[in-house]
Amino acid sequence: MPKRRLKELCINKEWCKGCGICIEFCPKGVLELDTQDKAVPVRNEDCVVCRLCEMLCPDLAIDIVEEEEAE
């Protein structure tokens, strides 16, 4: 199976309440809290598209967009 690749990791800053759940439980440490206590992706290249952050987020603030598989 080809490696899954991240196209975009969108955080809805209006909805994020800075609980830190995505940051703590991302297996690859992709996210951090910014100075306004909002989650931001900082190491997109390490993301394995497991979508754990997307489903754990209590505020529905994370949207993971996967790269379409190459032909």
Binding site: C19, E24, M55, D59
Partner: protein, 267 residues
């Protein structure tokens, strides 16, 4: 469909506190409904009153936000009248098992095809942190400042004893497992109960010195184990997660239809 197609976006950001597990239950439920490919207008969400019960307002299906503890009574009426619809009843632990305890056991006993999701944060969140029948011995609450002397129900054991034909438990830490349990429960024909252990950092977490939402999720990770695991043998205190009951019995609406057919025969 993207998540936004399943919610009433005008009510977001939602009212729940930062890190509230109820938001994760909402998130998981949406993913399950997306996976099952259910038509939005074939789903009815019926809730009572509580922080948890607010979930009905956020979902863009048929929804009813009813009375504290009475959601299953309303849901029973809807299901009997429109058995082709998927009726899902998310409830708080107080809503389901304090004021609503009688509705809960009798819905289970009848085996009506409804999916009950108990969002168990072991406290009354909405009204300021009073203890619930699921708080348990030794737990601190605004009504138990010296700790509770009440024992708690085990939701899964209670539901099974009352006759529910599908009973499962997971947590807001184990989101993929929780999704599987809710998916099986929705597909099950009969009364299904899924307990999702959830965190209320604002009251339960603070009063019981369990820390913030992240700490509470770690706590659920470390104090639960899959049914029948070796870890349970070593540490009987661990709470089991998984499917406890999955059996077939006549479903209430179908049985009722049979009676009507039978009664009409000689006419």
């Amino acid at each position: 469909m993207p998540v936004k197609d399943y919610i009433r976006e005008r009510f977001f950001p939602h009212i729940w506190c930062s890190g509230c597990g109820h938001g994760t239950v909402l998130n998981v439920l949406i993913r399950v409904i997306e996976r099952l490919g259910l038509n939005k207008s074939d789903i009815v969400i019926v809730s009572g009153i509580g922080c948890s019960s607010r979930i009905a307002g956020y979902l863009d299906f048929h929804t009813m936000h009813t009375l504290h503890g009475r959601a299953l009574a309303f849901a029973t009426g809807i299901k009997l009248n429109r058995p082709e619809l998927n009726v899902i009843v998310p409830m708080g632990d107080g809503d389901a098992l304090a004021i609503g305890g009688n509705h809960f056991i009798h819905a289970a006993r009848r085996n009506i095809d409804i999916t009950a999701i108990v969002m168990n944060n072991r406290i009354y969140g909405m009204t300021g942190g009073q203890y619930s029948p699921l708080s348990g011995y030794g737990i601190f609450a605004s009504t138990a400042p010296y700790s509770s002397v009440d024992q708690s129900f085990d939701v899964a054991e209670l539901a099974a004893a009352a006759g529910a034909t599908f009973v499962a438990r997971s947590t807001t830490y184990h989101v993929n497992e929780a999704a599987q349990m809710i998916q099986k429960a929705i597909l099950h024909k009969g009364f299904s109960v899924v307990e999702i252990m959830s965190q209320c950092p604002t009251y339960f977490g603070r009063k019981n010195r369990q820390g913030d939402a992240v700490d509470m999720l770690k706590y659920m990770r470390d104090t639960t184990t899959p049914i029948g695991s070796g870890a349970k043998g070593q540490n009987p205190e661990l709470i089991e997660r998984g499917v406890f009951v999955n059996k077939e019995l006549p479903e209430y609406c179908s049985a009722y239809d049979e009676v009507i057919r039978h009664a009409m025969e000689g006419r």
